[in-house]
Subunit: 321 residues, 2 copies
């Protein structure tokens, strides 16, 4: 293999809040304060090796075919007919099974780093399908509402996965997120399993009206309309019991002034949208206190919505991303 | 009863296209070329009498409690505690059981005319619930995606019915509608009955992604995105067989250049959204020809999207609206 330039690259991909209350498998946005970093190095032979996983615990497989980032790069190699392969070093900054899009972040970071090593880097719509394969491996469903905002950045609608089409929504001025992670794991498969295959048309109608109004509120810069629209009648009621003290945590966020509050992705993390960073910090505190009262410790992040997606970074040995 | 001013008023309410492919029970817009007109006259006693129905055929009940406009006004009388009542004369311009919102139009026209006779006219959100009662009578379901655009005008999201909240969407420049009515009747109850109580979550996800993108396309003035979003995977496939030659008619509209094509409300009328009035006329012709080839005669209207809602008009004896 003859190549010029560096033979390795690293990328960091942010945590993401998927679903966003009313956009199940459709809406998502990144939370830049937390992320996974992956270092990718070219190697001979069209295969993938995982050299190390830092802070991933025992739950993340080192076998590339069973690892979300590994599967994503194996898909890239196969689809693009690459003659070479990749060795990976993965640093998990995103807590496992937290509902914060960790599997998507590892896949996307690996893809963005690997892409930088290709003779002709691919556009994001050619990368996203491989991240979806990683999501299918992780959760049993090729949902893209984590991977799309993780890769593209911004508050996005995933209009279609085949072909990939992402629509970026404008973010109202001052809109911030409070994201709180209780120290409990909730497997995405379990959480998806709480949803029946079929759901009542009546609930769809109520939910889709809110989704349509939420999208309109982004363009109209109307946080009051957004607040009225941020109520999940379809999915949250069927999953809430999987998250300890969810009702108390949500009540606390709303009482603290949040515009809306729901599960982040499949949970157990919970997000609240807030008008301004001060309000987001207040919501973080309120949610953390509610969990503490239930005997559950937690971490929290408050930040403006919605930052950029995955980006190339330097890889500093031994420093966690 | 002591009142100043006139003791009667008349209002005309337009036909409406509900659902709009991806917004089942949520999206709708008026088509001003066709409408119902109702003349309302004050009378003593809190009740409603229907004096005449022109062009309504035998299918429309003269008994106020069984008539959509009658039920709407009975609700108004009851809720507002009115001491007087109303006598109605109804002129049907909208074909019966056509999927063009005729029941909503009669209710809304009656409400707008009656409202003009109140000491203190009510805002539209106080009128809409009574139109929904009319819809429930007509179809078994208090859906508001005909009544809301009929009353408010414009391309609207009905975010909530309790309380009533309507969000008006911007209409992309040049967006026009082709609306074609085959000379067949399809009862709304039958068409709603074609939908199972529960529907697959997978179809809902695909549909809600399109709905979100459709709403975004209105704000972005992006007819290409709108076109990609106008595909009903949830409801249309389950109703299409109730409309003769639907597949051929839709194919003809798309081949003629329409951005998208689906059932108007519960059908059998079919609408197509088009870029410009010339394209809308072409789609009308193409759809009409496809039905003619199947032995079905039809009427067609091409017009810009989306005009105003119901309005007060003069009542000219003997002249059809």
């Amino acid at each position: 293999m003859e190549r010029t330039g560096s033979n390795f690259a690293a990328a960091r991909a942010p945590a993401t809040v998927a679903n966003v209350a009313v956009g199940f498998d459709v809406l998502g946005f990144p939370v830049d304060a937390v992320g996974d970093t992956v270092r990718v190095e070219l190697m001979d032979g069209p295969t993938v090796l995982i050299d190390s996983i830092e802070d991933g615990g025992v739950a993340i497989p080192m076998d590339a075919a069973a690892n979300t980032a590994g599967v994503a790069l194996l898909g890239l190699i196969r689809t693009e007919g690459l003659a070479h392969g990749f060795r990976l070093r993965i640093r998990k900054g995103i807590p496992l099974s937290s509902g914060m899009g960790g599997s998507a972040a590892s896949s996307v970071a690996a893809l963005v780093a690997a892409n930088a090593l290709l003779e002709t880097p691919l556009p994001p719509e050619r990368l996203l399908p491989h991240a979806l394969a990683g999501e299918e491996l992780a959760s049993g469903s090729p949902h893209g509402d984590n991977a799309a905002p993780c890769l593209y950045g911004g508050l996005v609608i995933l209009r279609s996965t085949e072909p990939v089409e992402v629509v970026r929504l404008p973010v109202p001025r001052g809109l911030c997120v409070a994201l709180v992670h209780p120290h409990r794991e909730l497997d995405t498969r379990t959480s998806r399993g709480a949803l029946p295959r079929d759901l009542p048309l009546r609930d769809y109608v109520a939910q889709s009206a809110r989704l349509a109004a939420f999208v309109a509120s982004c363009f109209m810069d109307d946080l009051a309309l957004m607040s009225r629209s941020l109520e999940d009648v379809l999915v949250e009621p069927r999953r809430a019991s999987l998250v300890p003290a969810f009702a108390a945590v949500k009540r606390a966020a709303l009482k603290a002034g949040a515009l809306g509050c729901s599960l982040s992705g499949s949970g157990p993390s919970v997000f609240a949208l807030c008008d301004g960073i001060v309000s987001a910090r207040r919501a973080c505190e309120a949610m953390g206190s509610a969990w503490a009262a239930a005997g559950v410790s937690s971490d929290a992040w408050a930040s403006p919505l919605a930052g950029g997606g995955a980006r190339l970074v330097d890889w500093t040995p031994g420093t966690l991303a």
